[in-house]
């Protein structure tokens, strides 16, 4: 299945944000949620089918214009599943652009790598100088009591024209050493939260296998590894709360 979705948020000129474009197709269906009033807009990915499924080719574009504020969430976890025999890996490509003085908060539910899946997730975000980005990616390696499928996630976050954060994570039988003590140490859940731009909390150890680390450029990465997703949430959720939420 091929699908494309697009969100364009822009300032409404009265201190708020409006959605100029909100377009999706199954399984990338989008709904505006939350109150109409207030400065920020929330969009949920509602999901039109189980998946992604082997062979799916999905693409989402997000654009947040100057001074606009957008939060994207999802109603349920993505469950990456194997497709028909011989199908190519499933793909989800996300491109986002955040303008000056704009804020994008990307806070989806986790991706679950079901046994036998082969999934590639690619993310590329461009943040203009003065823009703010909060980008969360959680991954669960297999459903309850099953081995992990193969997932490769590739993230590039650029800020003010320079690459701030480049990260690839590969789990599953195709990723040598992924469950060893250097990578996940037998942990089944891992989460990352990139905070780019000005005005974030101070770096800190977050308890357990989690830390909020200052990047070399203007931003931070919170990283957490857990036996299951609860430990990752306990470490990262407090950093994702927005004022007023």
């Amino acid at each position: 299945m091929r699908a494309e979705a697009r969100i364009v948020a822009e300032a409404d000129g009265r201190g708020g944000t409006r959605l100029r474009v909100l377009r999706g197709e199954s399984p990338l269906l989008l709904r505006r949620t939350g109150p109409r009033a207030g400065g920020a807009v929330t969009v949920h990915l509602v999901g039109g089918a189980a998946g992604p499924l082997g062979g799916d080719d999905l693409r989402l574009d997000v654009e947040v214009g100057p001074a606009a504020r957008l939060t994207v969430r999802s109603v349920a976890a993505q469950l990456a599943l194997p497709g028909r025999a011989g199908a190519p890996p499933s793909r989800l490509e996300i491109r986002a652009a955040v303008a000056a003085d704009a804020t994008l908060r990307w806070l989806p539910e986790p991706l679950i790598a079901a046994a036998g899946c082969r999934h590639r997730a690619g993310t590329r975000v461009e943040v203009a100088a003065g823009g703010r980005l909060l980008w969360r990616d959680d991954l669960v390696c297999g459903r309850h009591d099953e081995p992990s499928g193969d997932v490769r996630a590739d993230v590039t976050i650029r800020y003010a024209g320079s690459t701030l954060h480049r990260h690839e994570l590969a789990v599953g039988p195709g990723a040598p050493g992924w469950s060893g003590a250097a990578v996940l140490g037998g942990g089944r859940a891992v989460g990352a939260l990139v905070l780019a731009g000005p005005g974030w909390p101070e770096p800190a150890l977050l308890g357990g296998d989690a830390a909020l680390m200052p990047l070399a450029g203007p931003g931070l990465l919170a990283s957490a590894v857990g036996r299951d997703i609860r430990q990752v949430r306990a470490a990262l959720d407090p950093l994702c709360a927005a004022p007023g939420e």
Binding site: E168, A170, G180, M213, A224
Partner: protein, 214 residues
């Protein structure tokens, strides 16, 4: 290309500060994740296919693109979210430059380039190619912690070296791939991360007493 020169560059006794770095092993041991040779095997394999892959690509790049040090150095910054690991990489780069300047004629690389960048520059100055730079880089990312494991845990050194011998074909493949990608834009070079190496390094940096610098 001189094989003997490659041995000089990759020699564990090269006075470039490597003995004081455990490549994250000291933290993994303290966390109870590496207790025996089996655990160490998993640690080394994961490290090779993350940090090793990235180091190989950037060492090969720095060897082939002698004018691109700054871009490659920034590329490693973007791939190293842990400030403790950025410091460790730059400390080892600085130490490697000191050793390299005594052996070969090096270009200006700043005071503390990241270690893979320094290694690639040394390889180029020594007349080696990107593949050799990448082999030395990938090998170093596992031989260092393997030696640290022998010292920290008292593991059987023969069993530990057997692990390294089993990783050698993977090191060769990683190095060949790295050498084939030296023309790629920096953003497209490998960026394989290892969350527990980052987190372990941050925790390790707060310890009051450390036997290893990283």
């Amino acid at each position: 290309m001189s094989l003997a020169t490659l041995l000089v560059l990759a020699d564990g006794r090269l006075p470039a500060g490597g003995h004081a770095h455990s490549g994250g092993l000291e933290a993994a041991v303290a966390a109870g994740r590496v207790r025996d040779v089996g655990d160490l095997g998993g640690f080394l394999r994961g490290r090779l296919h993350t940090t090793g892959l990235v180091s190989a690509a950037f060492a090969a790049g720095a060897c082939a693109r002698t004018g691109d040090f700054r871009d490659l150095d920034r590329g490693l910054d973007a791939r190293t979210p842990s400030p403790a690991l950025r410091r460790a990489s730059r400390a080892q780069g600085r130490a490697l430059l000191r050793a390299g300047r005594a052996m070969w004629s090096l270009p200006e690389l700043g005071r503390e380039p990241h270690h893979p960048v320094a290694l690639g520059a040394l390889a180029a100055a020594a007349g080696l190619g990107p593949r050799e730079a990448a082999v030395a880089a990938a090998h170093g990312t596992v031989s260092g912690p393997a030696g640290a494991a022998v010292r920290l845990l008292g593991l059987d050194p023969y069993a530990v070296h057997a692990l390294l011998a089993r990783l050698a074909p993977e090191i060769d493949r990683i190095a060949a791939d790295a050498a084939a990608r030296t023309d790629d834009p920096v953003d497209d070079l490998p960026a394989a991360g290892a969350p527990l190496l980052d987190l372990g390094a941050e925790l390790h940096a707060t310890w009051e007493v450390r036997l290893f610098a990283s």
